[in-house]
Amino acid sequence: MLIYLPIAELSVNMFIIFGMGGAVGFLSGLFGVGGGFLLTPLLIFSGIPPVVSVATVASQIVASSASAALSYWRRRMVDLKLATVLMLAGMVGTLLGVLVFNGLRSLGQLDLIIGISYVTFLGTIGGLMLTESVRAIVNARRGRPAPLRKPGQHNWVHGLPLKMRFKRSKLYVSAIPVVALGVGIGFLGALLGIGGGFILVPALIYLLRVPTNVVVGTSLVQIVATMSVATILHAVTNFSVDIVLAIILMVGGVIGAQFGARVGQNIRGDQLRALLAILVLAVAARFFFGLVTPPDEPFSLTTLSGSPL
């Protein structure tokens, strides 16, 4: 069934888009990630303009993160103070991200920067995840126990000034890395159409030593807030949020996520991470080939502000 997307200004098969939303939702439920880093590329590869893909996925991430954030909130697994600092910093980052996004668009370089960023981030993170999970799988095979982390272990981050106390996380840590993290995630989220959970969660655990029981809830609250801001800023500055596309993706996504979460409970963590790593690397590879292979059509047409024609 063809449905016309009023902002993307093209007709798409509703069931294909619904299926994409569902499949990414399934994977995000399976792996416990937002899925923006899969959904945005999938939409771009299927012919939706990158501008519309990035802006619309921002709103889809709000939907997919909101229900999870709510359930963590109910179970009191959110550090509100940490989330607030991250959120405020995230809004600044989002604003910067949207400004850079619109600037790149009118220069005709948005697609290139999105491509390079995806290759870099997904390549690095996918590579790290793959080596880590393969090592864990090999260790488990040989019957070696996973190395334990000692409590109270400090790193260079804990030597920075401007310390703040986060009671819920039992942390006394400098505000600098927290703000930097918030700004960075907000910036990337607005620029690339990703929630950033797959960067934020490891950073909170390994860099700030936030206890794992509040990490996911806190990062989800941060993602809901910054992606809401990103949606509004994209809507106001480049008019590229497609509400019809968003609804189809949201519904597909939340349904898929439920099934994914159920399947995910029956697969071992290290195997799950290895699978996710392979998926992340595959998306990175697809972007890489798009950047290095000579294009079939070297010419493209846009309006002055960068909307594709």
């Binding site: 009023p6 008019f239 294009p295």
Partner: protein, 255 residues
């Protein structure tokens, strides 16, 4: 002197036809509405060549060209070029007056019905569309961009040229008709339909009509809301997302 000569020729060309042939045209529709299941629509242009008493009998047969043009827009054409190992948009050219839609049909190939000067003056034929290149002062305009622009527009179904697309009906050869296809991706706005009458490569008459292409329905409402009420539209998207997320949480709650 040359300009004066040109003006005189133009005056002669414009005034001469008044005494002889006149064109009367009619469109099958003056309003095209694009809604959600719009897959394109044909407009038919009918015309009659009216000869008054002063009309001389022409040695050459009449030739008609029908040009349908959409509103002009500014377009940036970019070209990807290799940079290190990447393919990057490096050079570009901006056209400030590119018709968003251009469909030309004629009784015979253009170069057989009018002189190159006339074709250029009326913007007839892809080669003669005045796209108006911005920054032309740099004097390094690359014809490749223009060619690519027209090729991409043709591929999008927005530009077409059809020699033989205008047919005369009846033995008098004074009544003609042609059709133009407005595809679903045609932009909205005021379109002009121009009909030109030639005989033996000489210009005889010109007539013009307008056609409105408007987008209607839910899609248009959303499009307008997203542009004119951007803040509310954005807020609505966020609220919708939060609601969907909350609803999913309620429906699929496992505890």
């Amino acid at each position: 002197m040359r300009r004066l000569g040109a003006t005189l020729v133009a005056l002669a060309l414009l005034t001469a036809p008044a005494a002889a042939e006149r064109l009367t045209i009619a469109l099958s529709t003056m309003d095209i509405r694009i809604d959600s299941d719009f897959t394109g629509d044909a407009i038919t242009v009918f015309g009659v060549i009216e000869r008054d008493a002063a009309a001389v009998s022409r040695a050459a047969p009449y030739d008609v060209a029908v040009l349908v043009r959409g509103p002009v827009e500014s377009v940036v054409a970019r070209r990807k070029e290799p940079l290190l190992f990447l393919w990057v948009n490096r050079s570009s050219e901006t056209f400030t007056a590119a018709p968003s839609y251009y469909a030309l049909s004629s009784t015979r190939p253009l170069d057989e019905i009018a002189t190159p000067q006339l074709l250029r003056r009326f913007g007839l034929g892809f080669r003669n569309i005045p796209l108006q290149v911005a920054e032309a002062a740099e004097a390094r305009t690359d014809p490749e961009f223009r060619d690519a622009f027209i090729r991409l527009r043709k591929e999008a179904g927005l530009y077409s040229e059809f020699a033989g697309g205008v047919d005369f009906i009846g033995s008098s050869e004074l009544v003609f008709l042609t059709a133009a296809w407005i595809p679903s991706n045609a932009p909205d706005g005021r379109y002009t339909v121009e009909v030109f009458l030639f005989s033996g490569s000489a210009f005889l008459a010109r007539e013009e009509a307008t056609l409105n292409v408007t987008k209607v329905g839910f899609e248009q409402f959303m499009y307008e809301a997203s542009h004119n009420q951007a803040l509310f539209y954005g807020l609505a998207c966020v609220l919708l997302a939060l609601f969907t997320g909350w609803l999913a949480g309620v429906i699929f709650r496992r505890d």
